[in-house]
């Protein structure tokens, strides 16, 4: 979907569905999903269709995803950190077993 040119800063490694992605500090989890080339960051709770981030600024809520085990996070508002684990979310957030 998106690519990082070789000369762009990339000092942080995150894992999107297990796959390592190099990011710049200050970038968001939603950006990581777009760089990873994932086909979908959530399946829509109403029609089951694939969705990816749309507005990247906290308005549309299309980027709801599972970040470090916590479901339903707005990925575009969560800055990446070293070793962050990002997973797509199926339907509505499954809050059972989520960290408090």
């Amino acid at each position: 979907m998106f690519r990082k040119p070789p000369d762009a800063p990339a000092g942080v490694t995150v894992f999107v569905a297990g796959q390592p992605v190099r990011m710049a500090a200050g970038e968001s989890a939603a950006a990581a999903v777009l760089l990873a080339g994932l086909g979908s960051s959530r399946s829509h709770p109403v029609d089951g269709g694939a969705r990816l981030p749309y507005c990247m600024m906290g308005v549309c809520f299309e980027c709801l995803m599972v970040i470090d085990g916590a479901p339903g996070r707005q990925g575009c508002l969560v800055p990446v950190h070293e070793g962050m684990r990002i997973e797509p979310m199926a339907g509505l957030p499954d809050l059972a077993g989520a960290p408090p």
Binding site: K4, G26, V46, M56, V59, L77
Partner: protein, 463 residues
């Protein structure tokens, strides 16, 4: 925690207000959803400054504004969600609840300034929920914060200054979009020309716009003008874009489609506080009804910047300063009248361009009346046809349509379908949009867990 002034939003308006109010010795807290100050326009500006990647006058002035804010003494709380705001009651001031990384906190403030900026106009069209369709603003955020570039073939569809600015930023990064679809109506220039003489008072900005257009002529992207409709096609992701001009429909392959149809004020929080709003016919959006220097119909509550009405970042920074001064004065600080006059004078050339840009960027008819099959509510997948049917069945306003169709009931809480709802109800009832009304916005302003609510410290809870 109690403050004289709580400011929501750390873009130009919020920063301007914080600098002025803190400079007068008031206790100021700035609550921001984003990880760093600057707002969308100056996103990642401190990182880019440190890396020597500032580009042009806007960047340099933005970095200076952020630096002045850092030195102002105002408390800065980045990365927080403000999801509850109560207006003053029973002698107490405003009460806000903010959550950061799962920890909730109550904040009391004598005055509140909403500097929550703008959002890109929601522009429903067939296929706009497909993966690979994003806004131009989204792609600009990806470029600014990480240097990331969209995969080709890249199609940009829309109008207004932002697609132009973004195309020039792409060109600097060595990328040319495969196709630009200009959706400005055919009569846009004819309508805008009478405003050109007034706009000349803002000649610096006008010159910058011309400069951007000229810069693109060196390696011009293929551009199609007077595009009336667009469609995104694909099974599970974007594969092609169809567009209609007077000559008919054309289809091109695409991996990424970026759309932008101008920006509108972010009115969500203001509506939840009961601020009176007016429908802006020219820009087809709601905006708060304001008095002097950002005063609203709710005593003690101010709104400044693009959240008050679109004016661009320089106007926002000045209006933020003026609102900050007025709020400080209301709390007993003595302010300098000459300074206010200077700020108002400084504001004039920056605001001069706006009537011209507004006339040029008036949304096209097809955008305001989406076809029946087009989804207007992305959260609940409600179509324009379903909204019209609800009105035919007796719903008289957006709130009744919401109850019947779930339109506006999803996690974005009507941020994206709200304007469409107002226009569709107006169209179906044959009344002006102002009469159709708007969604009632209630807290929580963001989806929160019961844990977030239970996590409010007992001393911060309402009685």
């Amino acid at each position: 925690m109690e403050f004289d002034i709580a400011i929501v939003g750390a873009g130009p308006a919020g920063l301007g207000a914080a600098i002025e109010a803190a400079g007068l010795g008031l206790s100021v807290i700035v609550l921001d959803e984003q990880p760093a100050p600057g707002g969308q326009v100056h996103r990642a500006i401190e990182v880019r400054k440190a890396a020597g990647r500032l580009d042009g006058e806007d960047d340099r002035d933005g970095a200076a504004l952020v630096a002045a804010f850092r030195a102002s003494g105002a408390v800065h709380r980045p990365g927080v969600q403000v999801w509850w705001m109560d207006p003053p009651a029973g002698g107490a001031g405003f009460r806000l609840v903010a959550t950061q990384d799962g920890a909730s906190q109550g904040i009391a403030a004598k005055r509140v300034l909403l500097a929550v900026g703008a959002l890109e106009r929601p522009a429903p069209f067939p296929g706009w929920t497909l993966p690979g369709v994003l806004t131009v603003g989204a792609a600009q955020i990806l470029l600014k914060s990480g240097g990331n570039l969209a995969a080709a073939p890249l199609v940009i569809a829309g109008q207004g200054p932002l697609p132009l600015l973004f195309a020039s930023q792409l060109a600097k990064a060595g990328m040319v979009p495969d196709l630009i679809l200009d959706t400005a109506p055919a009569d846009a220039w004819r309508r805008a020309l009478p405003h050109l003489p007034g706009a000349l008072r803002g000649w610096r900005q006008l010159a910058r716009g011309l400069h951007l257009m000229l810069a693109l002529r060196r390696s011009p992207p293929h551009c199609v003008a007077r595009v009336r409709e667009i469609e995104a096609l694909g099974e599970h992701r974007l594969e092609a874009v169809r567009y209609r001009t007077e000559a008919g429909w054309t289809q091109v392959p695409a991996t990424i489609l970026l759309v932008h149809e101008g920006v509108i004020p972010n009115v969500h929080a203001a509506m939840s506080l009961g601020v009176e709003h007016v429908w802006d016919d020219g820009q087809a959006c709601w905006r708060p009804k304001l008095g002097v220097d950002g005063e609203t119909s709710v005593p003690g509550l101010f709104i400044a910047g693009d959240a008050a009405g679109i004016g661009g970042w320089r106007v926002a920074a000045i209006d933020g300063r003026l609102a900050g001064l007025r709020a400080a004065e209301a709390l007993g600080a003595s302010t300098d009248a000459a300074r206010r006059s200077r700020l108002r004078l400084e504001r004039r050339p920056h605001a001069a361009l706006r009537p011209f840009l507004d006339a040029l960027g008036r949304p096209r008819e097809e955008l305001l009346a989406p076809a029946d099959a087009t989804v207007v509510c992305r959260c609940e997948m409600v179509t324009a046809g379903a909204v019209r049917a609800a009105v035919q069945a007796g719903a008289t306003g957006p709130n009744e349509v919401k109850i019947r169709t779930r339109c506006g009931m999803g996690p974005c809480q009507g941020r994206l379908c709200g304007p469409s709802l107002t226009m569709l109800v107006a169209e179906a009832r044959g009344v002006p949009p102002a009469k159709a009304g708007h969604l009632r916005i209630r807290p929580p302003l963001k989806p929160v867990t019961l844990g977030d609510m239970a996590g409010i410290p007992p001393e911060d809870r309402a009685g």
